[in-house]
């Protein structure tokens, strides 16, 4: 090949400050970005995959610095530029988009002004032209009603629209390199699919080189031309996407790909004994004049011993349903029956006595454990509140820890001493401590890396079999639902639009909405 790479990273080592868990964020990494091609940098959290992107932009966090190697942009060494030189480069030569569209825009500035600012920063165009060009960019990235959107504030746009705005800013000066740091991780599957398509389109139209940082092999299979896999700061494998995805050389790559949840169809007999019946459940949320129907006459049965998946996009009402079942939300009308009794309006002692029968595992393993409580207290608090003697509760807590694969010594430690996956195990142990019949898992594995996700899913499956649990699994991830569930309920705008066995939903979806979700799910493969 005689074309020059647009961006070339040569033997780059990025040093971490003293006292970090390893000396280098990345070590001796070499990568090339070619015009019109997308390089996906894949790795788990903490692998250092984002550091390479930040190093290129000169946006490394305080205390982190380039230790060795160099970065060439169009042949020019940009490893150690001055702040003024970096300002010149950013946005103009290399642009970047980020993971969190909800927070990536200044909440107090109008959208159009935030885009126009890019021209101002680089002294391009007259002030009046800047606004016109911003409007044009909004149109190009497919914002609905751009004439109005340019005067909107970020909070008036959805997550997907905000990400489009960030992309518009990045494109403003036609940079030769676009760095995307997990730009779709926080988005719904359908929005994610749209954004991925948009990036692909823009890349072809403008001939940019794209560096796409992600943890998701599904996304990789959709967008990558080349793939680089990073494990704990070391580049373990790189090559064309086809090759890396189909025939990975390195065991770590193989492990990561194997950990992607695959849809499993089970041949178990359908379970027919309803443990929990939800009938005509209605719950509305009001903000000012806006009314959101989070549950719009939801009716479904949860059978004893099954795993029922509730899938849908954000705002579909899937979490509200889960919360209503654990009695964290009081429905406006409708009933939730267990053993023939309506449990949705229990109060006081009756509610407290009932609570132990249904327990919940939460999404965020960081926020759902009290940071000032030792694990022992977290695991025994519930049983003690329900009248267990302390000694017995502690003995049970130790058993539970070994059940979820942790050491009994964890009892004396605090949540911050554990990794995300370990904390989710603690969350599971906490839910089990009350010996519930039903566990509601609300996006319980969504915040975890794929390899950890696979372990936690296996653990849940194993516990369910051993303890005879019934599981309600709320998730936006169809792959996860397809792996762990027996039946799936698809929710849209507060209603259950489709309910059936995994095989029926994945192979022969009845609703167009279900089909669009399946189409959008990155890297989802179902054997026909």
């Amino acid at each position: 090949m005689d074309i020059e790479p647009t961006l070339s990273i040569e033997h780059l080592t990025v040093d971490l400050p003293e006292g970090a868990d390893r000396p280098h964020a990345i070590r001796d990494v070499s990568l090339q970005l070619w015009p019109g091609r997308t390089l996906c940098i894949v790795g788990e959290s903490g692998s250092g995959k984002s550091m390479s992107a930040n190093a290129v932009m000169g946006l490394l966090p305080k205390g982190v610095s380039v230790g060795a190697g160099r970065i060439l942009f169009g042949g020019r060494d940009i490893t150690h530029l001055s702040e003024a030189q970096y300002q010149e480069l950013r946005g103009q030569g290399i642009a970047m988009i980020f993971q969190e569209p909800m927070t990536a825009l200044n909440p107090l500035m109008r959208i159009g002004a935030q885009i126009a600012e890019v021209f101002e920063a680089h002294g391009r165009l007259a002030p009046a032209e800047r606004a016109a060009r911003a409007l044009q960019l909004l149109r190009e990235v497919g914002i609905p009603d751009p004439e109005r959107a340019q005067f909107a504030y970020p909070f008036q746009l959805s997550g997907g629209q905000r990400q489009r705005v960030v992309i518009a800013m990045a494109l403003a000066l036609e940079p030769r390199v676009l760095i995307a740091d997990e730009p779709t991780t926080a988005l719904d599957v359908t929005t994610q699919a749209q954004i991925l398509r948009l990036i692909k389109d823009l890349q072809t139209r403008h001939g940019m080189a794209v560096m796409f940082v992600t943890h998701d092999f599904g996304v990789v299979s959709e967008i990558a031309d080349d793939v680089a896999v990073i494990e704990l700061g070391e580049l373990v494998e790189q090559g064309p996407a086809e090759k890396v995805l189909k025939a990975p050389d390195h065991p770590y790559t193989r492990r990561l790909i194997a950990a992607i949840p695959t849809v499993e169809f089970r041949d178990e007999p359908a379970r027919e004994e309803p443990l929990l019946r939800v009938r005509d459940l209605v719950k509305e949320f009001r903000t000012g004049a806006r009314v959101v129907k989070a549950s719009d006459h939801v009716t479904l049965d949860l059978m004893r011993g099954e795993t029922l998946g509730i899938v849908g996009e954000s705002g579909s009402g899937k979490s509200t349903l889960g919360r209503a079942i654990v009695q964290l939300v009081t429905p406006d009308s409708g009933t939730i029956e267990m053993d023939g009794k309506d449990i949705s309006h229990l109060r006081g002692a009756a509610l407290r006595a009932h609570r132990k029968r249904i327990q919940m595992i939460f999404q965020d393993p960081y926020a759902s454990l009290n940071p000032r409580a030792r694990i022992g207290r977290i695991l025994t608090e519930g049983p003690i509140a329900h009248g267990r003697p302390r000694a017995e509760a502690e003995a049970r807590a130790r058993e539970l820890l070994s059940l979820v694969g942790l050491k009994a010594s964890a009892m004396e430690r605090f949540p911050h001493e554990f990794s995300g996956g370990q904390r989710q195990r603690i969350g599971i142990a906490r839910a089990l401590a009350l010996e519930p019949e039903i566990i509601v898992a609300d996006e319980a594995v969504s915040a975890l890396d794929v390899s950890v996700q696979a372990q936690v899913l296996d653990l849940l499956e194993d516990l369910k079999q051993r303890l005879g649990l019934t599981l309600l699994f709320v998730t936006h991830d169809l792959r996860v639902a397809g792996k762990i569930c027996d039946r799936i309920a698809v929710m849209q705008k507060g209603r259950v639009v489709e309910l059936g066995s995994v095989e029926q939903v994945f192979r022969a979806p009845r609703e167009a909405y279900t089909r669009s979700l399946l189409d959008a799910a990155p890297g989802l493969e179902v054997q026909p």
Partner: protein, 330 residues
Amino acid sequence: MRGTTFMKIATRIAARLAKAAVVLLAILVLNFLLIHAAPGDPAVVMAGEAGATDDVFLAQLREKFGLDQPLYMQLGKYVWDVLHLDLGFSYRQQMPVFDLLMDRLPATLLLTGSAFAVSLILGVAAGVLAASRVGKWSDTLISTVALLFYATPLFWAALMGVLLFSVVLGWLPPFGYETVGSGFTGIRRALDIAQHLALPALSLGLFFMAVYSRMTRASMLEVAQLDFVKTARAKGLSRAVIERRHILRNALLPIVTLAGLQAGQLVGGAVLTETVFAWPGIGRLMFEALTQRDYNVLLGVFFVSAAMVIVFNLITDLIYGIVDPRIRAQ
């Protein structure tokens, strides 16, 4: 669209004003009852000053002031009068309370207003400077001085200010509103008042200046960590623009809350300063009225102070709506 937004704002203000009226009425009643719960009444104080202790004289005084009526009658009459904007008559000063307050109000507003402006401007400026030089010596200096101001009692700072600038250096007058009997007019008089104003305004503003600077610094540093600041850097904006347009604007939101609190004290918050500097304002009027059990004057001051707090609360909320579009939309 614009029209409906305006209507929405107008309706909201009207609703707030209605609520404010209720609150004000409650304050009125509460003030009245509290004052009457305190031992002693104007008649006792006046009789004491006159050297008379006989009960007939006291009874006469009480009858004259209406103090012999049952409490609920007095309260009813008082509320009725206030509703008609009649704050009563001060028998001590032989003047209607309203005129008395209007007479003193300009001096107080001049003092508290200057203190407010000085503390807000200097405090925020110092905070911005400290935040942009975080960890450097200028940051340490600003933070230390702010802490010192923050910890110093107001009257102590005032006394030390007098000692240094008036007694030792002789630059500024130690007390009063203007040079008595100087006959200055126009610019010369304004200058004279400004000289008298400097020390009390500064000592009154020091505490809030320190609070503003600490808060601005902390708020700026917090906002600087947010994602959109990184977006701004990735656009290639210069540091100065990022600090001014992105960080400072967002960091000022909590400052507005605090400024609203301080502004609420514009009338009632300078009692100590006015007393120390013999400043002829509302604060000193209140202090004198208190020692003399001049009920009508005291109630008048309380009423105006409370009304001020309510008005500035409303203004603060409106300003919030202007600076933060998210609040406007609610």
